[in-house]
């Protein structure tokens, strides 16, 4: 079985802060100073209220699996998921360091970082180990 190779993300001027922070081990979300809501994926202009007054905030990195699917036929198998963060927004990711037979919707997960093909840190989630 081969190691999973994550393709590189496309990065642009709206999103480069997110990816730089990931390289520093931080998961960022965008929040709007006008309406107070977080959103994902990050945009310069708030999709909720249209304000350009958006700011980066560091997420706790904790969340729950909203839904997932295990791709057992892939080599190697992987688990794609939508994870709802403590901040209230849901993002696509992969669940790693987990027994795929024991994943479940609403399972508590925490962020960790993998590496893409080109060496960019990529937010992934594993079952929460608790504090």
């Amino acid at each position: 079985m081969s190691d999973r190779i994550y393709p590189d993300p496309t990065i642009n001027l709206e999103t480069e802060c997110y990816w730089q922070a990931a390289n520093d081990g931080k998961l960022l979300v965008k929040s709007c100073n006008a309406c107070g809501k977080a959103h994902f994926y990050p945009r310069a202009i708030c999709p909720e209220c249209g304000s350009p007054d958006t700011t980066w905030t560091e997420a706790t990195g904790r969340g729950r699996i909203y839904t997932y699917s295990v791709m057992r036929r892939a080599d190697p198998p992987y688990a794609i998921a939508y994870v709802t963060l403590d901040e209230g927004v849901t993002m696509m990711s992969n669940i790693v360091e987990a027994d795929f037979d024991n994943l479940s919707v609403d399972m508590a997960v925490e962020v960790m970082f993998g590496q893409t093909e080109g060496g960019q840190a990529l937010p992934l989630f594993r079952p929460a180990r608790g504090i």
Binding site: Y6, P9, A38, H39, E48, T67, Y78, T90
Partner: protein, 390 residues
């Protein structure tokens, strides 16, 4: 009293090919266009409006209009994936009602099997789409995106793989009578749940076929319909909508049909209980289940019970659906199933479906298209159609 309609579907054509190794995409467009015009009793010289999706060779509809030799004063390239053609019917109706065109041609064609599947991803997913960096690294595929909607629906409503399997079973009962269908064998619930797992919890038989081909529709003004006779089908109502991930606050248990359905029913002045036959886009079994709920054929979350025990099988259940075998068994030309949904609804309303699946006295039908990824980034189109005497 018979209802009035702003426009009529006068011609339909479904290409019989399922693997078009000896044809180009423009050839397929021209063949389905001429087929639908012949079915209507019109010629290409009558066409003044052309409706197509955004995947055509060339830019918009211009290259194909030139290839086919169309003389146009109206065009629409609404692109919502597989639902495009259902929305095109609605837009053609509005254009005709506004007096902007009289004979609208809608075509779809593609050859994903002959060209190889590798071209699909690049076309379906724009390199410059703004979400791309936040999804592509995680391995999203059509199958696992639909699977994640399925998993959430199961979690919230207790929907089971057996219930989903009934949708394929019903499609297969219909496809056995369709000589052009890719899959003609009748399958059981056990066959579906014992087929290989593709993307947990979706099995191979929860997925639609991949096929080449296409189809065309001709939508005309009431005056022209009157001159063509009673095979013309009324377009009574139409609705469209886009649903997306909403900045990361979303619910994957419902689809864009929750938007397009009520608009179409309101315009037609009918309710789900009035519908004799339904064509429901069936890229996967879950697509049908969530769509039927969202269109109001049952309470939200009760789709599993609605589709079970043969309730979708013509002559057996209360809600006959996809009597051509649908995308699940018959045909999913160019990976875009909205066109064939409208075509089979017209066959039913004309009384020209296969006798084994023809719904008796079929007067009101619904056709629904789903584009993109169900309940995630998706375009929805619903039309309500009526027989000539409806």
């Amino acid at each position: 009293m018979a209802r009035l309609a702003k426009a009529y579907i006068a011609g339909i054509f479904e290409h019989p090919t399922r693997k078009a190794v000896d044809k180009t995409v423009p050839m397929l467009h021209a063949e389905v266009a001429l087929g639908a015009l012949a079915d209507a009793g019109l010629s290409k010289h009558d066409v003044d409006g052309y409706f197509c999706d955004g995947s055509l060779p060339g830019l918009g509809g211009m290259a194909l209009a030139e290839y086919m030799g169309l003389d146009l004063t109206y065009t629409d390239t609404t692109e919502t994936g597989g639902s495009s053609y259902v929305i095109h019917v609605g837009h053609a109706m509005e254009a005709i009602a506004a007096g902007k065109c009289k004979v609208a041609l809608i075509t779809l064609a593609g050859r994903p099997r002959a060209e190889g599947l590798q071209k699909l991803g690049a076309r379906a997913r724009g390199e410059d789409s703004p979400e791309r960096g936040f999804e592509l690294p995680y391995g999203p595929m059509v199958t696992n995106l639909y699977a994640m909607s399925t998993m959430r629906h199961m979690y919230e409503y207790g929907t089971t793989s057996e219930q989903l399997a009934w949708i394929k079973v019903a499609a297969s009962h219909h496809a056995q009578h369709n000589e052009h269908a890719v899959l003609r064998d009748v399958v059981t619930v056990e066959d579906v749940i014992n087929s290989p797992m593709i993307a947990d919890p979706l099995h191979r038989l929860d997925c639609c076929v991949i096929s080449d081909g296409g189809g065309a529709l001709v939508v005309v003004s009431p005056e022209i319909a009157k001159s063509l006779g009673d095979r013309c089908i009324k377009v009574l109502g139409q609705g469209a909508g886009i649903k997306h991930l909403n900045g990361g606050r979303f619910d994957l248990t419902y689809t864009g049909a929750a938007k397009s359905g009520p608009i179409a029913f309101a315009e037609a002045g009918v309710t789900p209980a009035d519908i004799d036959y339904a064509s429901i886009y069936d890229s996967f079994t879950i697509t049908v289940l969530e769509t039927l709920e969202d269109l109001g054929f049952c309470e939200k979350g009760k789709g599993g019970a609605l589709v079970s025990d043969g309730n979708l099988i013509s002559g057996v259940g209360k809600l006959p659906f996809n009597t051509d075998g649908g995308g699940l068994c018959n045909n999913h030309p160019a990976n875009r199933g909205g066109m064939t949904k409208v075509i089979e609804a017209v066959r039913q309303l004309r009384g020209e479906a296969h006798p084994a699946v023809q719904v008796p006295d079929c007067r009101l039908a619904l056709a629904h298209g789903t584009g993109g990824q169900i309940s995630q980034r998706t375009g929805a189109g619903t039309v309500i159609l009526g027989s000539n005497d409806a």
